[in-house]
Symmetry: C2
Subunit: 75 residues, 2 copies
């Protein structure tokens, strides 16, 4: 069984990496792109279909709850 954990900065948190990418786009002629925000993705493989362990992994290990939020996509 597979799961994908996506960790992104909360919308209210400043994203300097995304802003840097965004700023460089004008000189590359990609000026239709108005906003870029970066996050992390984790492809997880698990046995026994124990979803609760993936929830714990996402919540306790992969996410900093002060500035980040996560969502899980099950496959």
């Amino acid at each position: 069984m597979k799961a994908t954990v996506i960790v992104t900065l909360k919308p209210t948190v400043l994203d300097p990496q995304g802003m840097t990418i965004q700023r460089s786009l004008g000189s590359l002629g990609l000026d239709d792109i108005t906003d870029v925000r970066q996050g992390k993705i984790f492809d997880v493989r698990l046995k026994n279909g124990s979803r609760e362990q993936v929830e714990r992994l996402a919540k306790d290990v992969l996410t900093n709850p002060v500035i980040e939020e996560y969502r899980i996509i099950w496959e």
Copy 2:
């Protein structure tokens, strides 16, 4: 219009970050998780629905074609 660009290491490329996470899971009691691989995700907002610019962003700016691959999810 929104798009999500997901950049991951090619399956044949070693992922030290994922392996480090994976190794720490046993001591946390998360031993049903057999594999973790890390990647990057970019949430992109664009005007005029110019998909070609997002393709170019993903291919030329966000991905290192030697070791990484990308996929785009349109919303």
